[in-house]
Symmetry: C2
């Protein structure tokens, strides 16, 4: 198989939505091809809950059917929906370069990394109910902002609308309350990965976020790819991670290779503005899951855990505009001769991921003007 | 009607769970009493989605049936479940006294209130999947902590396990992405209220929370009452709120009275250790909902929004042990002669709320020892 691959939910001509497997420019209708009634559901969740051996059996069967010439629905005939009912959404902060870049911007006189950063994968809960599928238009959010020279906050559309280029993983099999999920159990719980754009209104975020973290600066929308790529198809893409200093506490230790070699790019209105790779993330997915559950928090089918912004060390490899433009001070040039600091209305952002011959489904979103202006 | 009142999910002798209405020490089986098939569901959500006129009609019908002597299931025969499938869980920080108390403890040399606090109801997203029903035992969480004198963090059971006394509201009717919910539409979306105990591990929270807010310090469990009290039964309990200075931005303005006069108490292992009232909260529920959606974030049936810790101005009216004991410096005495700073294993906490003749369902939880100790 080549091209974009993954499980998603689609419909044709207004029929009932059902689960399909995308391969390149076509979609395999799984129930119609005899893979089971679980694929007649309007979300991946019933299939996700079946567990690892069912996931692997299904992928193996697809790997027989597709080369044998199974009928595929042309991608352009398929309307996609959000592939899963998202249970809880957690967003990490796992790129050393991103955390360092933001620390330099916001706390220029101190160590850019806070003391906890190298000891644990910092994270917060986002809003599961506003996770949307690729292609959903993004209405520019309004909210309170307050500049350093302002006496009081004012209300209006965000003037610093940004993206965050992220890789997320999707939980299939849940856990019990009170029972941590060790790093070694990662593959028994996690089905696959999607690209994530964690849209961020930097001006709203800056005013609201102390002391409890981001809220309205993020909660208006988070876009994910329409097709979830199973780990079973990415096994040859796991490579060694960058290494960690200091060595983490025992519950965060792993064996084997856990960095995912996926080349990433960000396109803004037709111009590629950033290229990086997910394999540079400091904290790995099994570490993220082990940390998120070490206090006994249960996970559920449909939980989405995202990496946080993925930025590389070089200029042009940053996963957000606040980094790419040094907080808006150095605009980016686009192919049409225009420049950008943050997103303008009608801009379209596309995130792409390539894993060798395979691709992760793109995440696309266009900015609509704010609906609330006063 | 008198005593505790609200809608919840119960079963008798292992039968299928269904929706009932608790009144005092009995439960009215709603489907069995002809109120509709929607009450045969194992969660309140289908009923919540029906909207305000259905909620009010149902309450009116119950107010006829109960005084007329309808058969009630004895409360002791009813096993309760989580009353709703929680969609997203948001926790505010709306008590001026609580925010001031914590600011004094953590930032003694500065203004205890951060600059944004009087301009917007600060909030963060919590973990919906670990909201549990009253009576669920709470396993002491483990995690990373680091004292000020420690060179490095260590892993182990929390030594500073705390409560947060809160009042939450439950969304019935959702909204569309991109469309804020104005303060004037509050009653069209919100069904009712529950008491909430937002269990907090202060030592885990202190080490992890910068810069993205609380995560594992809160996500191990949040307990709610088993019976959701509809706003329709609390209309005569709305009183004027304390007043706000400065006047908030237009989207946060309300008309009418929006503070809820509910007397609250915290009992620890048999001793009442705090008494306060929800009517002292600075930010009101319609303001919280308008703020949470002003960026266009959609709400869904089953969303839970909690007030944040409710503390009054006098000693003995604080809603957490970190406040009641001045960060552990001044232990509380219990009736059995023992003292407490933070919670010990086998301690039991009960939150209670009284609204005139009516009560909100209690929230009860007992601490079990940590399962992970190294």
């Amino acid at each position: 198989m080549t091209g974009a691959v993954g499980f998603g939910v689609f419909s044709v001509d207004g029929d009932e939505p059902r689960v399909g497997f995308r391969v390149g420019r076509g979609v395999l209708d799984l129930a119609a091809n005899g893979l089971g009634a679980v694929f007649e559901a309007p979300t991946l969740n019933p299939f996700l809950a079946l567990g690892r051996s069912s996931w692997e059996d299904t992928v193996a069967r697809i790997q027989e059917l597709v080369p044998a010439g199974a009928d595929l629905v042309p991608l352009e005939d398929a309307s996609v929906e959000l592939p899963l009912a998202v249970a809880d959404y957690v967003d990490f902060y796992s790129s050393l370069e991103h955390a360092t870049n933001l620390g330099r911007l916001f706390r220029p006189d101190t160590d850019p990394l806070l003391p906890n950063w190298r000891h644990l994968p910092v994270a917060y809960h986002g809003r599961a109910g506003t996770v949307v599928v690729s292609g959903t238009p993004i209405v520019r959010p309004s909210g309170q902002t307050k500049g350093p020279a302002d006496d009081a906050p004012h209300f209006g559309p965000s003037g610093r609308l940004d993206i965050e280029l992220e890789l997320g993983f999707v939980v299939g099999v849940g856990s019990s309350l009170g029972e941590p999920v060790p790093t070694s159990a990662f593959r028994d719980h996690v089905f696959g990965v999607v690209l994530v754009n964690d849209w961020s209104a930097r001006d709203i975020q800056a005013w609201e976020y102390q002391p409890l973290g981001p809220f309205l600066g993020k909660s208006f929308a988070t876009s994910i790819g329409a097709w979830v790529t199973p780990l079973a198809l990415l096994e040859d893409r796991f490579v060694s991670s960058p290494g960690q200093d200091p060595e983490p506490l025992p519950y965060l230790r792993t064996s084997g290779d856990w960095a995912l070699d996926v080349e990433l790019e960000v396109e803004l209105s037709g111009t590629v503005v950033s290229r990086t790779n997910a394999c540079g993330l400091y904290w790995t997915m099994p570490q993220q899951l082990a940390h998120a559950t070490v206090n006994g928090a249960a996970i559920r089918t449909g939980d989405l855990f995202a990496s946080g912004t993925i930025s590389g060390p070089e200029h042009g490899s940053e996963g957000s505009f606040i980094e790419l433009t040094s907080n808006g001070e150095h605009p980016i040039g686009l192919a049409d001769g225009s420049t950008r600091t943050f997103l303008e209305d009608d801009d379209e952002v596309v995130l792409r991921g390539r894993a060798g011959e395979l691709e992760l489904a793109e995440v696309r979103g266009r900015i609509l003007p704010a609906r609330v202006s006063s």
